[in-house]
Amino acid sequence: MKLKKTAPIISVILIIILCILWIFIIQSLGQDGTYATVSVSGGVLYTLELDKKQVLDIKGANNIKVRIVSGDGCIYVEQSECSDKICEKKGKISKTNENIVCLPAEVVIEVKITNNENEFDAIT
């Protein structure tokens, strides 16, 4: 009987503890990014918003094709024609200042937090 009454209270306390633990884990991992820049040979070519499902096919240095996919708050290299596949193996990234580098293609993907560069959809 006593347990029945206290069950919801204990549940709430447990959730609070879990939430606090979760916040600590998130903070230790870094802040969630909101967008990522994709640069080829040093020049930023694209800005992708991480919450939007996007597939980007680019041709990097040495004509190496790289497919980058963003969405659900993260970004990753789905496929690369490079020889070492380190970029593919890196998997999904989502925290600010995390990056994926494909050296053979000279492609760098970097997660950032605010997006002030996205004012223009195109430049002529």
Partner: protein, 342 residues
């Protein structure tokens, strides 16, 4: 105890469930970059099956490049140029584009002329071996420049001997129109393409906002001098910063040639942006307005309500046609004048 665990799991599941987002198909973005026509192109479309549609678009670009190239020996243009005085059968695309270009030449009194190619070559803009040709050389070359002597009957094109044509001033705009058609035919409601500075849009952004297109500051191309909000429009600029060289006299010569003089166009305008529905028209007109210069361009725009443009002069004066004044924002520190049409 069981109840505590069940309640906790239930509440946690509720919290996790709330964070799941549904993906709107029409907001799925797919981008493709294409290196063709001597430029870097990006095609960004939103919607279903976009990968297939983008591949189709890339095929179209490469196909048109093959037809319009001046250097590819199997291109329509190469065939025309190497068979002066004879009729050459060309594709529908090439015939249509030559007709389009000549119509723009007609309305601008020859400020655009696709037969200017031998002079562009003489200046070295096709090879990178730049030089300022002397007056007598240019006068000689000018004898073989006149778009009116290009004959088109159905799909047969002929140019006089000694003539050469190049569709570089209109090919990207035309290609943009073809891409827009492919996207529209495939039910794409939202897209933006940028063919080396030739911007063409379909609809609005998926969130309903208009596209924001920045226009480069011609004296500092790392900055934009103004921005324009558009939907279903082309925004195409010809600027003196695109391809140029410095002569021995220290003067800067840009790649747009004035067909009347054979000289690098230097008639007051350093950037001409044309905004409209047709890529080929905007592309050709931006070159023509650049060559016409400030006064003649303003007169032209005053007489043509159907054409909208932003002109920037050497003195950094900005002229905007009345119809687009409300969608253009000029950067701080710059003033502008409105070209009014009754």
């Amino acid at each position: 105890m069981k109840k505590i665990i069940i309640t906790t799991i239930f509440i946690l599941l509720m919290i996790c469930g709330c964070s799941n987002k549904n993906v709107d198909i029409n907001s799925i973005e797919n981008t493709k970059e294409v290196f063709a026509m001597d430029t870097y192109m990006t095609l960004k479309i939103y919607g279903e099956n976009s990968e297939k549609i983008l591949s189709r678009a890339e095929e179209e670009i490469l196909n048109l490049e093959k037809l319009f190239s001046v250097t590819n020996k199997s291109s329509d243009i190469h065939k025309i140029n190497s068979n002066g005085g004879q009729q050459v059968r060309v594709s529908n695309y090439t015939a249509e584009l030559i007709k389009n270009a000549n119509e723009i030449s007609d309305i601008t009194n020859g400020a655009l002329d696709i037969s200017i190619y031998p002079i562009v070559k003489e200046w070295g803009f096709t090879t990178g071996n730049y030089k300022v040709p002397d007056k007598s050389t240019l006068e000689n070359f000018l004898k073989n420049v006149n778009y009116k002597n290009i004959e088109i009957k159905n799909n047969y094109v002929s140019i006089p001997k000694g003539y050469s044509i190049d569709l570089g001033a209109v090919a990207k705009g035309y290609t943009g129109d073809k891409l827009v058609k492919i996207f529209s035919d495939n039910n794409i409601k939202s897209a933006i393409i940028n063919l080396g500075g030739n911007v063409q849009t379909i609809g609005t952004k998926p969130n309903g906002e208009k596209w924001t297109v920045g226009i480069k500051n011609p004296i500092d191309t790392t900055q934009n001098i103004c921005k324009i909000k558009v939907e279903n429009k082309c925004v195409i600029t010809s600027g003196n910063y695109e391809r140029y060289f410095y002569g021995e006299d220290g003067k800067r010569y840009c790649h747009i040639i004035d067909p009347k003089t054979g000289m690098s166009a230097d008639n007051g305008i350093i950037s001409a942006t044309v905004i409209g529905d047709s890529g080929v028209v905007c592309d050709g007109l931006s070159t023509a307005l650049f060559a016409l210069g400030t006064e003649k361009s303003i007169n032209f725009l005053e007489s043509r309500k159907d054409i909208d443009a932003i002109l920037i002069t050497k003195n950094m004066e900005i002229y905007i046609t009345d119809k687009i004044e409300n969608i253009v924002t000029v950067s701080d520190g710059y003033d502008y004048s409105v070209i009014k049409r009754s």
